[in-house]
Amino acid sequence: MDALQLIVVSAGLRQPSSTRLLADRLAAAAERDLQLHGRDVRVEVIELRDLAVHIANNLVTGFPNAELGDALRDVEHADGLIVVSPIFSASYSGLFKSFFDLIDPMALSGTPVLIAATGGSARHSLALEHALRPLFSYLHATVVPTAVYAATEDWGGEAAEFVGRIDRAAGELAALLTLREPKPRDSDIEDEDEVIPFEQLLAG
């Protein structure tokens, strides 16, 4: 069987970024679990910081440039997603939302998604439940029950709870992914399937 495609979207802005750090931890844990299930997985990370200007240009012009178009296609065709945003002003960052505003609203139907976020203190952790989970529910994705929030203090705190949460979330994502066939990647085949014969359009 073909490898599953796991796409990681990180909206961290700093270099190095704790958002990216969390994304990598989650991806590594999911990859490990999938391999235990005997599934090949290919992990690719999309750093939204590198696409920030292209995302703004797409909002203005209505079309993505080649680089952003590739990233959007990767997300839309992913077998599973790990999405990580910093929490700004009680919600996902504007860059994170702007990127997902460009995704075809039906493209993520049924796609397993692990949501995660970072912030300065644990006080903002429920933004995951109030902002990220509804966003991906709207996109008809299957959001795993455990969301992972990393406050600054978690990077030096009690390991067991933080690591346990990462493992639990990654395990939930891996369990959903093991049930799936990889999505077809040949976009031409999909395009031909999209044609609705005109007699059917005429019939209303």
């Binding site: 703004a56 240009n57 203005v60 012009t61 209505g62 079309f63 440039n65 080649a66 178009g69 395009d191 999209e194 044609v195 609705i196 014969p197 005109f198 359009l201 005429l202 209303g204």
Partner: protein
């Protein structure tokens, strides 16, 4: 192959002077541009249709009728006619009238428009956009072909014993193109009827339009109107030219940077790389336009957007001189070179009339 211009009819401040033309000035400028198009040897002038500021062309057949009276050869077209919110009965009447007044120099590009509130303003629901385009056009198609129409649909009052007048000139309906930026359903509609497909080819990279045009060509052949190569394709494009390319870039940049659609977004350099826009010398325009054939196959109509983003009339008229003198003659010659004999020209009233009076014995007769 036909060459021409299409206009959106936007009233936009000139960013270099800050001055906004009045609606009256803009309307006069549009008609002056149309007359100039004929003068410099172009084949087609197409106007947009909009029902909100900052656009002026809400009444296309009024404008095209005025232009028809002052031109001899120019084909008058639209870019686009709102098939969703206009009553198809009124479209049938208005454009048949224009056909008679212009001596058959009329065709139309059907479209769905770019302004959401136009739907409610005209009593329609934007969520019905595609279904309106399908039903309304099906009715329009019959109104031009059947003298007495009995019809019931979902989106307008039923018609019983209705005759749309005047009947099309010589009994030949105007040729119709269907324009779409993103909907495969519209490419399918154009293919089903054997009508033309027009890709505005302005905003998106070529790969996007290749998909839509490829789909249209395959379905055109599927419905038995001819081979894929015989499908009728029109393309937009936009250019700004000066003899020296650096002068073109310098002069156009403030207009580009402040343009209503893409201004304050990507740079001029990115946009010319990623989209069909050319800003440079006439030779650069020729080179880029000739590539359209490699991307989309031999095609029938090339329209350029020349008069937007606040460019002053004088500049636009200079652009048309360059287009008519330096660019289009070379494009005509180059596009004719190696063009397969079975690729048809864009249908005109004369060719449609000839085809109607001498129907080919078989679909392949024109190949022999």
């Amino acid at each position: 192959m036909q060459f021409g211009i299409f206009t959106v009819g936007d009233v936009t401040p000139d960013p270099t002077t800050g001055r906004t033309p009045t609606e009256g000035e803009r309307i006069k400028a549009m008609t002056a541009i149309a007359l100039k198009a004929e003068e410099v040897g172009l084949d087609v002038f197409a106007t947009g249709e909009h029902h909100n500021p900052p656009f002026v062309p809400s009444s296309p057949t009024t404008m095209l009728g005025w232009i028809a009276a002052r031109t001899e050869r120019l084909v008058l077209s639209t870019a686009t006619t709102l098939i969703t919110t206009n009553d198809p009965v009124k479209i049938a009447e208005d454009y048949a009238m224009l056909q008679h007044l212009s001596g058959g120099r009329v065709d139309l590009v059907m479209g769905r428009g770019n302004t959401g509130p136009v739907y409610p303003w005209f009593g329609k629901d934007i969520r019905d956009g595609i279904r309106l385009a399908v039903e309304n056009y099906a009715l329009l198609h019959r109104l031009w072909r059947e003298d007495v129409v009995d019809w019931e649909g979902k989106y307008r009052t039923p018609l019983h014993g209705f005759t749309s007048t005047p009947r099309p000139l010589d009994g030949v309906p105007p040729f119709v193109w269907h324009g779409s930026i993103r909907s495969p359903e519209i490419a399918e509609q154009a293919a089903y009827y054997g009508d033309g497909f027009f890709a505005n080819n302005i905003f998106w990279p070529k790969e996007h339009y290749q998909k839509l045009i490829g789909l249209y060509r395959r379905r055109f052949a599927h419905y038995g109107h001819g081979s894929e190569e015989q499908a009728i394709v029109g393309l937009g494009g936009q250019v700004f030219m000066r003899e020296r390319s650096q002068d073109a870039v310098r002069e156009f940049r403030p207009y580009f940077d402040n343009a209503p659609v893409y201004g304050h977004g990507p740079s001029l350099e990115e946009f010319t790389r990623d989209t069909p826009l050319t800003v440079g010398s006439p030779d650069q325009v020729i080179e880029k336009t000739l590539k359209f054939r490699d991307y989309f196959g031999d095609y029938q109509r090339q329209l350029f957007l020349m008069d937007h983003a606040g460019l002053p009339l004088k500049t636009v008229l200079e652009q048309l001189d360059l287009l008519g003198e330096k660019v289009v003659p070379v494009l005509r010659e180059e596009f004719a070179r190696n063009r397969p004999a079975n690729v048809p020209d864009a249908p005109t009233h004369a060719s449609l009339l000839a085809a109607a009076s001498n129907p080919p014995a078989s679909p392949t007769a024109s190949d022999s």
